[in-house]
């Protein structure tokens, strides 16, 4: 089904009392693609997932998954999706294997098939050693992986993963990314939410940035970067030249920073093609010798800041700041 949208949403609105969780969200994910939904806590990411997975009814708008309307044909949707919610949804008193076998059988697998798939997934997610222990003794990372396994038990065509790597250590995150890529390699369509910009950058084919219940920007990671962020230029001069800033002025966005020795210069520049060439030419015309020039493409952090006027993870930054000043 190339090109057909496996996940589609139009004008989704969801209110909880006076709080507007979603204020008109449109999404479209073609078959076999990964959409990264990016946004801070409370942006509406989880609400969108709950609606798309039939757990919640939209107040306005419509959505379909694998071609079936989520409100009119929820049973058909449920047969085609796997869900890993943000809060872990395991049975604490059952072992990892028992959890997977139970979910497999409740999804319609025969006992022997459920057993086989549970064993395969436990191996794929490196949980075989812990498979026969009760999940209440699992670490955060093991829970995430078991949740992921549970969402994949039916090998569903569409996967919804709500913050699949939150709380994991870097190795755990890489492991989960690997598994998600594996699923997509098998033909699965994935919608995942994340607060981590680098996660969206690494995994997603396209990104929807949520803020206050709206999609405030969408596109491929590189589109988003080139549309919204400015690039950062760093040049090192052979000798200090105060007139370098003047020479570069037409390319700059905002103020330039010059190092103490007067040789290094940092500034935001227009993110346009040939920016490095243009910078070197401008300096050359002014008779300034350049030892080194670097252009850094904007990160999604820069994009988020540009879009919302806030840091993506304000709390983290605040903590870091506190730690630094303490």
């Amino acid at each position: 089904m190339p090109g057909r949208a496996m996940i589609e949403a139009e004008g989704l609105v969801k209110r909880y009392g006076a709080t507007v969780a979603l204020a008109g969200v449109d999404l479209s994910v073609p078959a076999g693609a990964i959409l990264g939904v990016l946004g801070p806590n409370g942006a509406g990411k989880t609400t969108a997932i709950r609606i798309l997975t039939t757990l919640s009814h939209p107040d306005e708008g419509r959505a379909s998954v694998a071609g079936f309307d989520v409100t009119a044909q929820p049973a058909e949707v449920r047969r085609r999706i796997g869900v890993a919610a943000q809060a872990t949804t395991l049975d604490e008193l059952l072992t990892g294997r028992q959890n997977l076998e139970m979910i497999g059988q409740l999804s319609g697998l025969r006992r022997s098939a459920a057993r086989q798939r549970a064993a395969d997934l436990l191996e794929r997610l490196e949980l075989t050693d812990a498979a026969d222990r009760q999940t209440r003794g699992y670490s955060g990372g093991m829970r995430r992986r078991l949740d992921l396994a549970a969402s994949m038990i039916m090998m569903p065509p569409v996967l919804f993963l709500d913050e699949p790597t939150t709380g994991l250590d870097p190795a755990g995150r890489l492991g989960v990314w690997e598994v998600i890529r594996g699923m997509v390699g098998d033909g699965c369509t994935v919608l995942l939410t994340t607060q981590y910009l680098d996660e969206a950058d690494h995994l997603a084919d396209s990104i929807a940035v949520f803020d206050h219940g709206r999609v405030i920007a969408s596109g491929t990671p590189s589109q988003l970067k080139s549309e919204t962020g400015s690039a950062r230029l760093e040049v090192t001069l052979s000798t200090p030249r105060p007139d370098a800033v003047l020479a570069l002025q037409p390319l700059l966005e905002g103020e330039a920073h010059i190092s103490h020795d007067g040789r290094r210069l940092r500034a935001a520049v227009l993110n346009q093609e040939g920016i490095a060439t243009a910078a070197v030419r401008a300096l050359d015309r002014a008779g300034i010798l350049v030892d080194d020039v670097q252009v850094h493409q904007p990160s999604l952090d820069d994009v988020f800041l540009a879009l919302t006027g806030r840091e993506a993870a304000e709390e983290d930054n605040a903590n870091e700041l506190e730690a630094a000043t303490a």
Binding site: D91, L93, M102, L106
Partner: protein, 278 residues
């Protein structure tokens, strides 16, 4: 690796077979819970033994029963009381499940939602069976003897279990409206204690004040108790009471059970849907 194909299983099992499988899988899950935390079973193991001994040896010494021993009189009452009290477990079990993320997982599966409720009630019926066995064994140990045949005794036990099954659905409804386990438990006991005690279960109702006696004689627990006494061939002072349920205790117990089921099963399904949708 054999898990490699994405897609939906087209071999769709028959509706009824799949529902049955769901219920069995969930009952099995509930039984694993009991195995992991056997104290959950104290309601139907330790408590019945304790009640049997307490009532028979403490109360029994002071309550004269016309036409028989207190032990023979008390057993049917102990059975009804213990079974009714244990139905609080349904409320607690459901509330516990609802407060975990697991219900959300179930809700996104292509399963039939009422399977969750039915599995709960079947599990509670199984523990009621344990409770019944313990009460009967404890009764036999302290001298209780039925004076009718096996079939009649079995019919009495079956009526008690049917009523328990019905009352479990009523307490399931309570579990579905309670905010948390503590609330479910305390509301449950506020309802259960008067229901178990304002009845003919442990004492003949003849000695009660007139207004209380009316309540006691129309209490479904009294009907079940009287039905069991009649079917066990044990002393049944309520047979002298003119009120219809005491004259026809078997019919009354069956009607009470049917009415409770007819109201509480659809109500529980409705409450479950309401509780788990937003």
């Amino acid at each position: 690796m054999s898990v490699r194909t994405i897609g939906i299983d087209n071999a769709r099992p028959a509706w009824f077979g799949q529902r049955l499988r769901e219920i069995l899988v969930l009952v099995r899950r509930n039984l694993i819970h009991i195995l992991r935390e056997p104290m959950q079973l104290s309601d139907v193991t330790v408590q019945p033994i304790l009640f049997t001994l307490l009532f028979i040896f403490v109360f029994g010494s002071g309550i004269p029963i016309p036409g028989g021993s207190y032990t023979d009189f008390a057993l049917a009452g102990l059975l009804a009381m213990n079974l009714v009290m244990s139905s609080n477990g349904t409320a607690v079990g459901l509330t516990t499940d609802l407060n975990t993320g697991l219900i959300d997982r179930f809700r996104a599966l292509p399963m039939w939602r009422p399977s969750i409720l039915i599995a709960r009630s079947v599990t509670d019926l199984l523990s009621a069976l344990v409770c019944t066995t313990i009460v009967v064994l404890a009764g036999l140990a302290v001298g209780w003897r039925p004076s009718t045949g096996v079939i009649s005794v079995a019919a009495g036990l079956a009526i008690a279990l049917l009523f328990t099954y019905a009352i479990c659905w009523a307490f399931g409804c309570l579990g579905l409206v309670a905010r948390n386990v503590e609330a479910a438990m305390s509301i449950g006991f506020i309802v259960l204690l008067p229901m178990a005690f304002v009845s003919n279960a442990m004492v003949p109702t003849q000695g009660m004040p007139a207004w209380l006696r009316v309540i006691a004689d129309w209490n479904p627990v009294s009907s079940v108790t009287a039905a069991c006494r009649q079917l066990f061939g044990n002393p049944n002072p309520s047979a002298l009471i003119k009120d219809w349920p005491m004259q026809h205790p078997v019919e009354a117990a069956l009607i009470w059970s049917a009415v409770l089921l007819a109201i509480c099963v659809p109500l529980a399904v409705y409450l479950f849907r309401r509780r788990t949708s937003d």
